[in-house]
């Protein structure tokens, strides 16, 4: 991605996210009271974050690539099952992935 595009992403994301927050503080409650909208909205973070796990962990450009990141992700999953706190999960994934990366 070009340097200009990085700025466009940064500034557009910031402007949009602030506008969304401000709209919430400014519109009448009934505007967003629709039950279906609320149900979908509650599931959006779960769907997007889950897709991001795949896109970041198992994908390179437009193909599936199982590499050192998969080892890191597996370690993160084990840490989560062991009820490790967030920073530990991230560090465990990084260390595992780096070890596998250097072993190759």
């Amino acid at each position: 991605m070009s340097a200009t595009m990085l700025w466009v992403v940064l500034l557009s994301t910031s402007a949009l996210c602030f506008t969304i927050k401000f709209v919430g503080h400014s519109v009448p409650e009934r505007w967003l009271a629709n039950a279906r909208l609320q149900r979908i909205n509650a599931l959006v973070p779960i769907a997007l974050l889950s897709a991001l796990v795949i896109a970041e962990g198992l994908v390179t450009k437009t193909h599936i690539a199982l590499d050192h990141r998969l080892a890191g992700l597996a370690a993160a999953l084990a840490a989560l099952f062991a009820k490790a706190p967030f920073p530990v999960v991230v560090v465990v994934a990084a260390v595992t992935s780096a070890l596998v990366y250097h072993a190759h």
Binding site: S14, C17, F22, A35, N41, I46, F86, V91, A98
Partner: protein
């Protein structure tokens, strides 16, 4: 009643510090995606909603188009509008204060504020402002540390940063998966993203996973 303010401030502080620490992961992810340290810090100052920030840099890191990055971030940010609708009648602020309130309307400030309901409206407001401001301060400080640290490290793969990013996403979604239904939604979104990967341009499998949320949320269960 002298205990009420201190208990609320204590809640606000512990949440701020814990959540703020996630900023290290964001700073590192942002730099690994190609953003500068300055841009990473501006993300946390201006966008200031963690999941959206992670999504934007995540899509960029995966080689996706700018529009996909912006779209994914905006869709993750929509819940903040619902928080604002809940908070506005409680805060009753206008002008600059409303702008400030809007900017710090996130999961944590709303969550702590609403949890103070039994302690009265004063505690609700203190909970919101202290948590929002506290997370803002710690999130930005830790973003800088993470971004600066990642910049000094060099090759992201060499230090496992490229695996730390998906692990961070996994860590963010994990605590939300409290029912079987939600776990099915998460698994479906993962499978969906995997299936779409060879067919769509980079970034689109991420944003199109919103369709999974629409499909599962369409009908009342």
């Amino acid at each position: 009643m002298t205990r009420a303010p201190s208990a609320t401030v204590r809640d606000a502080f512990s949440v701020s510090l814990t959540v703020g620490f996630y900023g290290v992961a964001f700073g590192a992810a942002s730099v690994a995606a190609g953003f500068s340290v300055l841009q990473s810090c501006l993300f946390s100052l201006l966008t200031f909603t963690g999941a959206s920030q992670f999504a934007a840099v995540g899509v960029v890191a995966s080689g996706g188009a700018g529009l996909s990055a912006i779209g994914a971030a905006a869709m993750l940010g929509t819940r903040n509008a619902l928080y604002g609708i809940q908070m506005a009648p409680l805060l009753k602020v206008k002008g600059l204060k409303r702008i400030a309130a809007a900017q710090i309307t996130i999961d944590e400030s709303t969550g702590v504020a609403l949890a103070q309901a039994a302690r009265g409206i004063g505690a609700v407001r203190r909970g919101f402002w202290f948590t929002g401001t506290g997370v803002f301060i710690f999130w930005n400080v830790f973003t800088f540390l993470g971004a600066y640290g990642a910049k000094s490290l060099g090759n992201p793969a060499s230090w496992g940063l490229d695996a730390a990013v998906p692990a961070a996403f996994l860590g963010l979604v994990w605590p939300r998966l409290v029912t079987t239904f939600l776990r099915v939604v998460a698994a479906s979104a993962m499978v969906f993203a995997l299936i779409m990967t060879p067919w769509l341009p980079a970034g689109l499998p991420i944003i199109s996973s919103v369709l999974v949320a629409v499909a599962f949320g369409w009908r009342e269960r």
